[in-house]
């Protein structure tokens, strides 16, 4: 079943085109990595999927409906979670913010909302930290709390913007292992500079630089052997170029309109 469907999408800030001819299908239980250079339009693409921006052309279907209508079934983890660390707020209260604005009790949170938030904290292994102040956590722990906040509504789709940007290597692996575990039940879309996510976790990759090039990478051995990479060392730049390349003959499912502009 197709969970996300972008068809011939274009977006421009004023007259500056940011995205053009973007088409993409994401199926249930996919783990899609979105990669590409800074300023290439990755974050814009996420904002379009979240309904924070409206496309200038083309259509977006999320969970069979529009992005704004699907919002309640989509969990989102924003890029920078190290802001506002002085804010006096407990971990559980941050997770509770994942609940929506509609039909809530006159004051505070309902019993069900609290139970759901605790369950989300358990899913990310942070239940022992529920009463701690958010600023007292490490970057990796805080990122897991943000994932719990996104899980608070039991979403069908989880979208993360550079979830490991400010975390050390151990923390990064923990985050990706967690996402892999969640991926059993939830479709995951992650924007990342980090290639280990593509090689170790994702089954689909999309290279975004104004246009989008799509790759099915569920069988990783395909990526390398036809590109003459004989030694064990793989330069990250090589892989990025490979995934962004126009005539990439390894992809099973290249978008016709894709390729570098």
């Amino acid at each position: 079943m197709s969970l996300v469907s972008l068809h011939n999408l274009a977006f421009a800030y004023d007259t500056q085109p940011v995205l053009e001819h973007v088409s993409l299908e994401v199926n249930e239980h996919d783990f899609l990595a979105i990669i590409g250079p800074n300023g290439g339009g990755k974050s814009t693409l996420l904002k379009l999927m979240l309904g924070l921006l409206k496309p200038t052309q083309g259509s977006i279907t999320l969970l069979g409906t529009t992005p704004s209508a699907a919002r309640h079934d989509v969990g989102y983890v924003p890029q920078n979670t190290n802001v506002n660390t002085d804010f006096p707020v407990k971990v559980l209260d941050v997770v509770l913010m994942g609940n929506g604005a509609e039909h809530h009790p006159l004051f505070g949170y309902g019993i069900e909302e609290k139970a759901c938030a605790m369950e989300a904290l358990q899913q990310v292994g942070m239940e022992d930290f529920a009463a701690r102040r958010i600023g007292d956590l490490s970057g990796g722990q805080r990122q897991r709390v943000m994932i719990a906040r996104a899980l608070c509504r039991r979403p069908k789709l989880l979208i993360l913007d550079e979830p490991t940007a400010s975390i050390d290597a151990t923390g990064q692996k923990e985050i990706y292992d967690l996402l892999k575990r969640l991926n059993d039940a939830i479709t995951v879309i992650v924007v990342s500079h980090d290639l280990s996510v593509i090689l170790g976790y994702a089954n689909k990759a999309a290279y975004v630089n104004r246009t989008l090039t799509f790759h099915d990478i569920s069988d990783k051995s395909h990526i390398f052997h036809t590109h003459g990479q004989t030694d064990d060392h793989l330069c990250e730049i090589d892989i990025l170029e490979m995934l962004g390349g126009e005539s990439c003959d390894v992809c099973n499912n290249c978008d016709d309109k894709g390729g570098a502009a």
Binding site: L50, L52, R71, H72, Y76, P78, N84, D86, F87, P88, V89, K90, D93, V94, L96, M97, G98, N99, G100, A101, E102, H104, L106, F107, G108, Y109, R133, R149
Partner: protein, 265 residues
Amino acid sequence: MIDALSFTFVQHAILAGILVSLAAGIIGSLIVVNRMVFLAGGIAHTSYGGIGLAVFFGLPIFLGASLFAVAAAILVAWLTLHQRERIDTFIGLIWAVGMAIGVILVDLTPGYNVDLMSYLFGSILAVETGDLMFMGVLLAFIVGIVTLKYRDILAVSYDPEYALLRGINVPLIYTTILILSALTVVVAIKVVGLILVIALLTIPVYIAERLSGSLAGMMMISGGLATLFTLGGLVFSYLYNLTSGASIILVSAAFLGVFLVVWKR
């Protein structure tokens, strides 16, 4: 000292100090966590335009100042939501233009020699019964809104983009915080004056931020500290015959200094 308590104006001063301090603790917390201190400063100063307006048209001072400050708050909210990158320039403009309007309107008022100093630095010893009622109603209003909208206010203050995604009306909450700030500034003018109000809104909050684990706790501790500082400042100004508004601020600042030295986290 004790016999001073039998005077009505002293009783009024104490009551006004408590009411305004509690409002300042709640609203100051929201101003600090939303990084709106400069915005609140602009609204405080521009409200002098409302004082000039009230003097010129013969309206009650609180009414004129409230209308002007609320209008400024709505303008600031609109600018923040639509012209975010130039907001500091606009606040600077609003800050000075409001004061200039006030000065000119007072100039134009025939035969009236307004005591500018009492608005700039407060006149807590001249609080009347009507003022107290206005302060009481405002405090009840603030407590009511913050209680009913607490989870939305918390979500918007902590992470506005995420709050928007969860369907919370972020511009409405943001504008509400600014309007409540404007009204709090107006009542605080009586106690510490419009120039010093920003200290009453920030010093107790800065201390409370370190002592509390939640926004609600921060509001309560701030309110308590602000009350302590205001009453302490009043005693100080009574004992040494000094200006009350400035005494309140210096008592707060002295306490903050001690706190920063003693408190290690």
